[in-house]
Amino acid sequence: MITPVKALRKNRFKTALIFLSMTVSIAAIFLISAISGGVVSMYSAMLKTDGDIIVTQKGIADTFFSDINRSMTTTIAAMEGVKEVSALILGAAPVDPLPIVGIYGVSDNRFKSYTLKQGSYPKTREVMLGSKIYETLKHPETIVLSKQTFTVSGVFKSRIGFEDGGVVMPLEDAGKLFHKSASIFLISLNDLGQSDAIVAKVNALNSQIEAKTTESFIDSYNQFKIIQTSSDVIGAMAFLMGILGIVSMMSMVVNDRKAEFGIMRSIGLSSGAIIAKLLWETLIIALAAFFVAWGLSEGVLELIEHAEKFQGYINGEITAALLLKVFIVSVVMALVGTLLPAVYASRIDPMSLIQRGGA
């Protein structure tokens, strides 16, 4: 244990370079996974409140494009086992000076899922603002959406970043604004055991709509898959960059230390012992890089969460599961990246120590 640390100290310049490149890669993996995971979990949390079943337009890729007839809510609400049905319109519009803000039109029975901080729930031509956007816009009394002025009736607090940075208004007003009846219905049930039966009944109502349990909706939602896949691809690239960085730096290190490995071979240390020595060295760097990258990522996530620009939409969390995953990734990165240079080191011929054709 002491020997690898001494070796790293002796070669401190290259040690520092390997450390930096690993830290950057690991932090990139942390951030991309945390942020994409945050977006997905925030949106899922929003859908899960009050919704055991989600109804959208059939075959739609994004709920923003979904358009279904809100009059169906009455029929669904009358079904046995259904506790409540709410309708939502999910839209987005600029609110000066913000380029884009989430607008949520909700049926009256959904207002209760927002915790009011001040004022009252909105009526016609009124909106209520998430506490985040209320601060960003510096406590406005009115806001303008599509050239129409709406009075701010109240402010709510939501732990879901999208909502806290968004605008909530009555469903009818949002319908006029976005020219649609409803985007989605959220159905809550008396008994979850009935969900499959009710999904089937709702689907039978109309061929234009599609009902799914919230769980299966989230699992199959295309946007989540796209986010997840992009994040996996970027993460994999960061991983590969990390490995390439280690391979090239370690090759230089091995080259610098040829005589050292040659002498180890000549005194009969096995190839395995030499490989193990080098693996220990990068493993130690990887551990340090992991912890520093973790700290850095927490800092960056904190900054992003409080950055006005992102209105709380981006909100990543480093969960225990992510921590474990990235830890394993860091160790694998160090081991894989070192293996090739280490094998090369372990094969250095002690013959190279003999001064060729010398005196």
Partner: protein, 210 residues
């Protein structure tokens, strides 16, 4: 360990370097390989010490060919010590740690370093001691596992006369206590210390003196 060479030939590319060497080196004692530069001393020593495969001929160790020795790393670690012209001490390890790196068992390290006159330098690093002391540490590393034989190629090549004589004296002393030494050198003074002198010329053994 008795080392025997039969009809050794070696080529580097088309260059014929060793041209039929037959030797029998007793298991103990101090054997010097001397000769002009380019006469093939290093090549012969490399072959005898298992580091280089000859183009032709065989080397046996107590009658066994290299292929019969089993794990060559272990064979080297148990039976052979090396001293090179350059000390090759690992710079980030102290002298004692350098010796310990090679040691199969730690007990003998301090007495050995004491005996080699570097007992008090154990915690120093190679750049904190003299050239002669560095070479003594390298010799300690070669001797630590009580090898049957130590091979040295120009071990005094980087030393002044006084330190060179000191090294020969050490070889003499340790060979008296049973370790075999096979040392290639172009320094004729080595002859005063060796039991056997093998004189090389143009890739053949010209003469053997006892």
């Amino acid at each position: 360990m008795k080392i025997e060479a039969h009809a050794l030939e070696h080529y580097y590319g088309a260059e014929h370097i060793l041209r039929g060497v037959d030797l029998s080196i007793p298991s103990s004692g101090f054997t010097a390989i001397i000769g002009e530069s380019g006469s093939g001393k290093t090549t012969l020593l490399s072959i005898l010490s298992t580091l280089l495969q000859p183009t032709g001929g065989t080397v046996t160790y107590d009658g066994k060919a290299l292929a019969e020795l089993g794990n060559i790393d272990l064979f080297r670690r148990r039976n052979i010590g090396f001293v090179f012209q350059f000390h090759y001490l690992i710079s980030y390890l102290s002298l004692r740690e350098n010796v310990a790196l090679a040691a199969l068992a730690p007990e003998g390290i301090d007495p050995l370093m004491e005996r080699l006159g570097i007992g008090r330098l154990g915690s120093r690093y190679s750049d904190e001691v003299s050239g002669g002391e560095r070479q003594r540490a390298a010799i300690a590393r070669a001797l630590i596992n009580h090898p049957s034989v130590v091979f040295a190629d120009e071990p005094t090549g980087n030393l002044d006369t006084k330190n060179a004589l000191g090294v020969y004296e050490l070889f003499r002393e340790f060979s008296n206590s049973g370790t075999g030494f096979i040392v290639a050198s172009h320094d004729k003074k080595i002859a005063d210390f060796a039991d056997t002198i093998i004189e090389m010329e143009d890739g053949i053994v010209k003469k053997i003196h006892h």
